[in-house]
């Protein structure tokens, strides 16, 4: 049986924290550059700052956004892997180390609001999978877009139009506050806690990836068009770049339920994966 050490997990998580905050995927950079070229007026000016920012962050080794987020970690743990330590503790030790020069944005109790000063704890999701590998997907998430996300238990009778209406309602309420251009993760189905997880996982998919199920794929295309037709534009000042992509993940649900969750991601869409 393969073993993995505590220190390996700590070091890899620390590295992922730092690297994910300094650069977004080349594919997202390219789409932002294309939007910059196609835009005009005030939006053009603002997208130019975003395009330059993506270059400067790498050059100066500074985080793309000062809000380096609360860290969301997805662990896929191979059943043939032997782990003889508390993996969540290792992840948090890695976050504390990785955030030495990143902003500490976590408070210990939501009502006392005293900063934990090392950006822990992370939000950790674990899943057992076949094999002998440990996959760590790490996504620092800022509050600007997270705060404008939403979830609703719809009635099955409203169908696909009801889902679309709710998604557009969330986007219209978010407007410029969520830092558009945005990526919209949508979870449909499951139950009260499953739908937001689906939406969050949808945001981890590559930008050009399309949903497998034809209904989800159609919804992705139609919602992207509908969201951009709202004309909210970059930072809410109007224009063509409200959303870069819409990702729909679905799951079976109860005969009486139609849960829908909308997780908004700003253009600083940070995530990075390591397979150990």
């Amino acid at each position: 049986m393969r073993t993995i050490s505590y220190d390996t997990v700590v070091n890899q998580v620390a590295r992922l924290c730092q690297e994910s905050n300094m650069a977004i995927e080349p594919e997202i950079v390219s789409v932002l550059e294309a939007k910059f070229e196609a835009s005009s007026g005030l939006e053009h000016e603002m997208l130019q700052q975003i395009v330059i920012n993506n270059k400067l962050a790498g050059e100066k080794q500074l985080p793309l956004c000062q809000d380096t987020g609360i860290v969301v970690v997805f662990l896929e743990i191979g059943t043939e892997l032997h782990i003889d330590f508390d993996i969540e503790a290792a992840v948090n030790a890695g976050v504390a180390e990785g955030y030495t020069y990143l902003r500490k944005s976590v408070v210990g109790h939501p009502l006392e609001r005293v900063n934990t000063k090392d950006n822990t704890p992370a939000i950790v999701h674990q899943r057992l999978v076949a094999g002998d590998k440990l996959t760590i997907s790490l996504a620092p998430k800022g509050a600007g877009s997270e705060n404008m996300s939403g979830m609703k238990m719809l009635s099955p009778s409203v169908g696909v139009d009801g889902v679309k209406d709710y998604v557009l309602e969330v986007i219209k309420a978010a407007k410029g506050k969520a830092c558009p251009p945005m990526i919209v993760g949508i979870g449909i189905g499951g139950n009260f806690e499953k739908a937001p997880m689906l939406a969050k996982e949808a945001l981890l998919r590559p930008l050009s990836d399309e949903a497998d199920h034809p209904l989800d794929k159609k919804l992705e295309q139609e919602l992207l068009r509908a969201i951009n037709e709202l004309g909210i534009g970059t930072m809410g000042v109007g224009g063509i770049a409200t959303a870069l992509a819409v990702k729909v993940n679905s799951f079976p649900c109860h005969i009486a339920s139609l849960p829908v969750a909308v997780n908004i991601q700003c253009h600083v869409a940070r995530h990075l994966t390591a397979v150990l």
Binding site: G41, L42, E45, M46, Q49, I50, I52, N53, L56, A57, K60, Q61, L62, P63, L64, C65, Q66, D67, T68, T100, Y101, L102, R103, K104, S105, R113, N115, K117, A143, G144, N147, K175, G176, K177, A178, C179, L230, G231, I232, G233, T234, M235, G236, V237, G238, C266, H267, V268
Partner: protein, 175 residues
């Protein structure tokens, strides 16, 4: 697009003349405060304590920086969502603040308050935090140090780029 230069302390006539959609290049002092610092200022006022800073004709930037690295005076420093500071805006206007910088729309009552006080709300580009960092020349924590990124900071800036969102006439940049 019209570009205007602005220095601090602010000339109130110049502030009143700013129009929604214009770009402003700010040089001088900017005070940085977000949720927790606003709350502390409110508590000090309530307790009748002297404030650590005179905000008459000054600028408040809603921001919490990332740590400075190496030779840099400050880390990344883009705007945070302004709407969270809506409940504190009247207090800051009463203290003399004439320009607020953040990102995103304000509540209608805040737009009204800005007009009544001859003040302006401007936005910086969210997520352009390294771009904006270039214009910051010095950064000093002046109060509430224990709050970390949420402390009260004084920045000296040169040609710090923002866009007028809500002007004194009630015009808005937002869709």
């Amino acid at each position: 697009m019209k570009t205007r230069d602005l220095i601090t302390p602010l000339d109130t006539a110049l502030v009143a003349d700013l129009r929604s959609g214009e770009k402003i290049l700010i040089s001088g002092t900017i005070y940085v405060a977000r949720d927790a610092a606003h709350k502390r200022i409110g508590e000090m006022l309530e307790a009748g304590l002297p404030l650590p800073v005179d905000l008459k004709n000054q600028i408040i930037y809603y921001m919490g920086p990332s740590p400075a690295i190496g030779e840099e005076v400050i880390g990344s420093c883009g705007p945070t969502t302004s709407a969270r500071m809506d409940p504190y805006t009247e207090m800051m206007l009463d203290l003399g603040v004439k320009l607020f910088i953040g990102k995103g729309e304000r509540a209608p009552y805040v737009e009204q308050l800005l007009q009544e006080h001859g003040a302006v709300y401007a936005i910086a580009v969210g997520g352009a935090a390294v771009y904006l960092q270039q214009f910051v020349k010095t950064c000093e924590c002046i109060a509430f140090e224990e709050l970390g990124a949420e402390a009260l900071y004084r920045l000296e800036v040169e040609n710090f780029e923002v866009f007028v969102a809500n002007d004194v006439q009630g015009n808005t940049i937002f869709q």
